[in-house]
């Protein structure tokens, strides 16, 4: 008689992307099938965060096989459970382990050795897709809050700041400001009351890194915030999250509640005098509230408009208190840095950009989804190799990074290694990690007009260049698309772009012209091709 086979675990992706492909129904169907056959003790159905290739949803992983299935539907549930039972029966006869011989009806089994998975280096996402984000026990099993405990009990705040500083971590929200420097600035500010804010107002079109982290591993972010609070001497924390992220909000709410119940957030943590509470603040749909001073105003209950800096939030933030603002992914990097040490982290990546970066790959690409790679990985590796390139019959024309604040990298420059400096040289930015792939059918002027319309709609209206300039820029781009523009209009477009970039008050206005300037740099011929022929103008002007 052989030992009973190990219990099975079916990890069912419950992130927003897969939910849209029927993941909730699939999970229910699996649970029904398992309970009908009284296999609840032997087969665990676990809802988990993002499993990666979102474009192939709904995704389902089977452990301990490590098999990953794509395009699974609710009607596949009984077949899968039956196949698992059949395998048990066969194994009971001869005691031999055998691979799972099953494929979903309309889906497929994914080869996890393919580049999309094999070339990843999961640091931020190490628990994402493995643990049930709704159960704190699952996170604690994987070591959640161990580093917070260690920091509070064994380290001084200065040691924590020093560790982050030496790791070379830079802000993952877009600008890439050195995180350790920011922490030490806030730590050095006088006063007993300080605030830590997590910016989860991810708003770039095509970006869903932060959402995936919050949906899949919320405790990772909470622990990072708590460690930051300990390091800078803060006792209050806010997570500013956009209202559209309903699942992330739900998971965060649950996570905060559970952490408080487990006395991992709140007062007198780990029998010390350290206290830290976290509140959720849900945004009301303004992109500009991702800008830190607008975000602070919004937390305070005021109109979400930016103000000039200085004073920086580190001096005067929420309620006038010294405030540390980092984005979700930055906080999610804190735990592994503390656990493995700053040298370990600094060894990943390039000279100017350390660690890994999570990207959300979307657009005209075969394998879209969430992936994490070391800094310095080339765009070609990410897009061509991991993403599988453009779909059948088309070729990649450009890759847009950094959302409406970024620019396009043409196909000829795809060998660029991704880090803060190299992307800046190409006239774009790392941004928060949204990567939109465009094939040869994309009209670059229309793309620029799309982003300009976005900025026009999202401008807060406080400063003149952004409020009125984006409207005029959008009008000029429309004029090009309509074929009514002249060379003078093109010159005016370019001049106005520079004016809006140089004179706007905040980052939104300053970077709003970037998609235009970037496409003008690499695809100027497309603008020129749209200009009205000179001859046509001459005949029109004639009486």
């Amino acid at each position: 008689m052989t030992a009973p086979p190990a219990p099975l675990c079916l990890r069912c992706c419950t992130s927003a992307g897969c939910l849209a492909s029927g993941a909730a129904e699939l999970r229910q169907a699996l649970q029904r099938a398992v309970s009908c056959l009284e296999l609840v003790d032997r087969i665990e159905i676990r809802g988990v965060g993002c499993l990666g290739p979102c474009s192939q949803g709904a995704l389902l992983a089977v452990d301990p096989d490590g098999a990953l299935f794509a395009g699974v539907r609710a009607e596949d549930a009984t077949g899968l459970i039956a196949a698992l039972v059949r395998r048990w029966e066969l194994e009971a006869i001869d005691g031999q382990r055998r691979p799972l011989a099953w494929t979903p009806g309309r889906g497929e089994r994914l080869d996890t050795s393919r580049p999309f998975f094999a070339r990843q280096r999961r640091v931020v996402l190490e628990n994402c897709g493995l643990i049930d984000p709704e159960r704190i026990e699952a996170a604690i099993e994987r070591g959640a809050y161990d580093q917070l405990r260690r920091a509070v009990q064994e380290l001084t705040p200065m040691q924590v700041v020093e560790t982050i500083y030496r790791s070379g971590l830079r802000g993952r929200g877009g600008a890439g400001y050195p995180t350790g420097l920011k922490w030490s600035t806030v730590a050095k500010m006088p006063g007993d009351h300080k605030v830590v804010v997590c910016n989860a107002d991810e708003g770039d079109p095509g970006a869903f890194m932060d959402r995936s982290v919050l949906e899949g591993d919320p405790h990772r972010v909470l622990e990072g915030m708590a460690i930051a609070a300990f390091a800078v001497g803060a006792s209050r924390g806010f997570i500013y999250i956009r209202a559209e992220y309903t699942l992330a909000i739900e998971n965060l709410r649950g996570a905060i509640e559970q952490a408080q119940r487990h006395r991992l957030l709140g007062q007198r943590l780990f029998d010390s005098s350290f206290e830290f509470t976290v509140e959720l603040r849900v945004g009301a749909g303004a992109y500009v509230c991702g800008e830190e001073t607008a975000l602070i105003h919004s937390i305070e209950g005021k109109r979400g408009t930016p103000r000039p800096r200085p004073p920086y939030p580190a001096e005067q933030g929420v309620g006038g208190l010294p405030t540390l603002i980092n984005n979700v992914e930055t906080f999610a990097n804190v735990v592994p840095i503390l656990r493995e040490g700053s040298d370990w982290y600094a060894a990943i990546g390039t000279t100017s950009s350390k660690g890994t970066k999570v990207f959300s790959l979307t657009g005209n690409v075969r394998w879209g989804g969430l992936l994490e790679v070391p800094m310095g990985t080339s765009l070609a590796t990410i897009v061509q190799e991991m993403g599988g390139g453009a779909p059948e019959g088309s070729t990649i024309k450009a890759v847009q990074t950094g959302g409406p604040s970024g620019g396009c990298v043409p196909a000829s420059e795809l060998n660029t290694a991704v880090d803060y400096a190299s992307l800046q040289e190409l006239g774009t930015i790392m941004g928060s990690g949204g990567m939109v792939v465009m094939d040869h059918s994309t009209n670059m002027v229309a793309l620029a007009a799309f982003f300009m319309e976005f900025c026009r709609d999202e401008s807060c209206g406080k400063c003149v260049p952004c409020r009125a300039g984006t409207v005029q820029l959008h009008g000029l781009l429309q004029k090009h698309l309509a074929g009514d523009a002249t060379a003078a209009d093109l010159a005016q477009l370019e001049a106005l772009c520079h004016m809006v970039k140089d004179t706007s008050l905040c980052g939104l206005g300053q970077s709003a012209p970037k998609p235009v300037l970037s496409t003008l740099r690499f695809f100027r011929e497309e603008y020129v091709a749209l200009l009205k022929p000179v001859a046509a103008r001459a005949t029109e002007a004639a009486p």
Binding site: V288, C460, C463, V464, A468, V471, L496, D502
Partner: protein
């Protein structure tokens, strides 16, 4: 009180620490155009007319809020700045409906003055002719959104000086407009004390006394400083 010495357009100037570049420039008689700025109100740096070049800084900085620093070298005038200032004025003219010939503030309008100063004889950008409303519900004053440039002086004076907080900005981007109360007709807002300070500080003809016709609005925004000084004197504070 410590003092910083800096250079503005080649002129050396000594200013008390905490003073702004705008104050420093005015000290030596250099005119930097402003619109949203008004002495006596908190600065918002929104109109971007007062942007100046500072040596060693890659970005243009608004003179109205940038504090003086020892050794700063500032340029308030250059071909680029001139072009940007003119563009700001053009953007303001094209986003509203500014028809000087029929405006109560004609001849006493700061927007008009700035347009003359920056040499805007026509707009290089197309006019947008937005459809905007006029609010005549208040007993004594009127609000013509067509002439509003969203400088928010009225919002600030009502909140900071009068303490009534009648005005706010609603909506966003191109749809921004000044609202009274909770977007009510001005006349229906109980909080309004009918003091007229918003009309006084309005740089254009957007807020005006009812009964004023073309060129008849004569309120002077600089009266605000006199009012604040008188208030401080009565409270026994040094002027």
């Amino acid at each position: 009180m410590s003092v910083s010495t800096l250079t503005i357009d080649g002129q050396a100037v000594a200013m008390a620490v905490g003073a702004t570049l705008l104050e420093a420039a005015r000290e030596v008689g250099i005119a930097i155009p402003t619109l949203c700025h008004l002495e006596g109100l908190s600065p918002v740096a929104a109109c971007r007319l007062c942007l100046v070049e500072i040596e060693g800084s890659g970005k243009l900085q608004p003179a109205c809020i940038t504090p003086v620093l020892e050794g700063m070298v500032v340029r308030t005038d250059s071909p680029t700045l001139r072009d940007y200032r003119r563009t700001v004025i053009e953007l303001l003219f094209t986003e509203g409906n500014h028809v000087c010939a029929v405006c109560v503030a004609n001849g006493h309008c700061e927007l008009q003055d700035r347009a003359v100063e920056v040499g805007m004889d026509h707009s290089r950008l197309p006019y947008r002719f937005p459809d905007r409303a006029v609010d005549l519900s208040h007993q004594r004053f009127g609000l013509d959104h067509n002439r509003c440039i969203l400088c928010t002086r009225c919002v600030r004076v009502c909140d900071e000086v009068e303490g009534a907080h009648v005005w706010d900005v609603a909506w966003r981007g191109e749809h921004c407009r000044i609202i009274a109360g909770l977007d009510q007709p001005w006349g229906a807002v109980d909080a309004c004390t009918d003091c007229g300070k918003c009309v006084m500080v309005c740089p254009t003809g957007a807020l005006f006394p009812k009964g004023d016709t073309v060129e008849e609005k004569h309120e002077d925004p600089s009266q605000l400083v006199a009012l604040l000084r008188a208030r401080q004197a009565r409270q026994g504070a040094p002027p």
